[in-house]
Symmetry: C2
Subunit: 333 residues, 2 copies
DNA sequence: TTGTATGCGTTATCAT
DNA sequence: ATGATAACGCATACAA
């Protein structure tokens, strides 16, 4: 790779002149700028990013720590993060915690050595269960901003981007009750252990209570054969006329099991799940979803973090990205 | 962040002594090492990664360029890459081309300024369709190793990690013919435009020809309503007794549409698709898949690239990660 | 065993 | 308008 020094030698001028010429300084004559730029073009000179980083003490890089990239929600958030970061001239270094506290902690520590200007993260399931937070506080204490999204830790003060978990499920449940006139609504979940899962369940319960209906919850986070559990539950509780799933898997499974039991969807049984992008493609009838705007979450997160990076006085905020109820055939009549 | 200089001043010794002590040099006395390490621990000293990179001219970072991270195959490959890279003490910078040639090109250029030691990439659909390759050749020419996986460009000489596309589909088709005694096997696809899609189709065709059967291919890459197309095709061709899908979507759709048409799976109709990790969870009956070992692909890719980075004399190789036919209820009797 | 000096590639300050 | 020099934080060759 060509360096300033090499360009300078080839042109018989000093390094600093070359540097200034390339940065279009007014101190440099047009003729010199032309000569320098032509040569730079010819040898395909690119300023060494590492050297610039050392000099400016800014990496223009964001550390992104995700629990699991095979979860389509996080994949889509990553898409939003990458797009927005690139547009803002930032790189992203990606680490996956695999829902493990130890891995999350290690990643955070490793990147806290000047590799990144700030972090965007959703905490691991393990971290939430163990109620750990020191590792994140440590990063913040060493002046590296951390932004948490989706799964957040309340006691930590930092920028946050969250989904309206409570409200969206409350409204979806209300929709089933008031518009669809359903009376036996089952909630199925494999995320009941997460902060977001707890909020979603609360939203469901509030709507159910207000309508003086009976709350019914099927928890599947630690179940081996989810298909079987759902199948059996539906078989034993034939009165169920609606299902709300609070994750991106169990709603589709519910559709499949209900069909297997000969239930007619949506006439006999309305189903609403959570989803992103192409989730509905994989279900038949197409599943209605509470659509989390995952891409937008990533987008908003990057913008907010960069805002903080550019402003010492920045005030910590919590932004809410509203979800959208998308009705498909599984509820539409 | 604490620096060597600060530690040195606090201890009244020289910077180089501190540096050597932290690197456990034999030149330094145990007593000094202890003093240094204790202070470093106390002030939470971490060597500045950027400075190390500038010094050693190695970033210990791999640039990863993926066409789409919301595709579960690439998400799982990324998982394998991240895990292996972390274990080998490498970071990864992730860029998404979104199947666009321009974005891919830009990412490659931007990171070719010393930001990474090498690249791992799968080329964008757009790049394959337009048959572009200069941008990749440019990176290789400037001495940054590039490893291509899954979707590769034949004319470029570099390390490659590929799947046995031809063989796996050939064998799956053969399985349907010989073991399942199927005679009207339909191939459905939404990847017929890609290098991998073409190979998979060839594998199907070879098996079909050898058995003197009739080749039937339903191409869906540019179709709007995939459900409808599949539904109509199956309705109009009631003789079909097996389906092989060469992507991770259309197989599940085929199951759903076949059920809708009252076909009994697998007795009446065997279905095999492509899949990764939890694909089968979303289908009922659980879909049989040609399981691409996506995690392993990522793992092998990182190891091979690092091998090259550590060895000037490295010979370019093409490694094949074999797929595995995983039978579930949709073919089992 | 410890310390001094140099350089990685860049930018910025201060001469000339 | 151009050039010399220092500095970012670290590692290392060479002195002492």
């Amino acid at each position: 790779m060509a360096t300033l020094k090499e360009l300078a030698k080839l042109l018989n001028i000093s390094v600093s002149t070359v540097s200034k010429a390339l940065n279009d300084s007014h101190e440099i004559s047009e003729i010199t700028k032309r000569r320098v730029n032509e040569l730079a073009e010819k040898v395909n000179y690119k300023p060494n990013r590492i050297a610039q980083q050392l000099k400016t003490n800014k990496t223009k890089t964001i550390g992104v720590i995700l629990p699991k990239v095979t979860n389509p929600f996080f994949a889509e958030v990553l898409h939003g993060i990458e797009t927005t970061a690139t547009n803002s001239d930032y790189d992203i270094i990606v680490c996956l915690s695999n829902e493990s506290f130890e891995k999350e902690q290690r990643s955070l520590e490793l990147l806290s050595n000047g590799s990144v200007d700030g972090f965007i993260m959703a905490v691991a399931r393990d971290t939430q269960v163990k109620e750990q937070s020191e590792h994140i506080k440590a990063a913040i204490a060493s002046k590296i901003p951390v932004l948490m999204f989706d799964r957040v830790i309340n006691e930590i003060i930092c920028n946050k981007v969250i989904v309206d978990d409570f409200k969206s499920v409350y409204e979806a449940t209300e929709f089933l009750i008031k518009k669809e006139r359903r009376k036996n609504i089952l909630l199925v979940s494999n995320v009941e252990e997460l902060s977001v899962g707890k909020l979603r369940i609360k939203g469901y319960q509030k709507a159910i209570e207000e309508a003086k209906l009976q709350s019914q919850i099927l928890k599947l986070a630690n179940v081996d054969d989810v298909d079987e559990s759902v199948y059996n539950y539906l078989k034993d509780n034939t009165g169920i006329d609606a299902i709300i799933s609070i994750d991106h898997i169990t709603g589709i499974i519910a559709i499949n099991m209900a069909k297997k039991l000969g239930r007619s969807i949506p006439d006999d049984l309305s189903i609403i799940g959570f989803g992103y992008e192409h989730t509905h493609l994989l279900a038949s009838p197409k599943i209605s979803i509470i659509h989390q705007k995952a891409f937008e979450i990533g987008e908003v997160a990057v913008k907010l973090l960069i805002e903080q990076l550019n402003d010492e006085e920045h005030q910590q905020k919590t932004l809410i990205v509203p979800s959208e109820l998308k009705l498909w055939e599984s509820t539409k009549n």
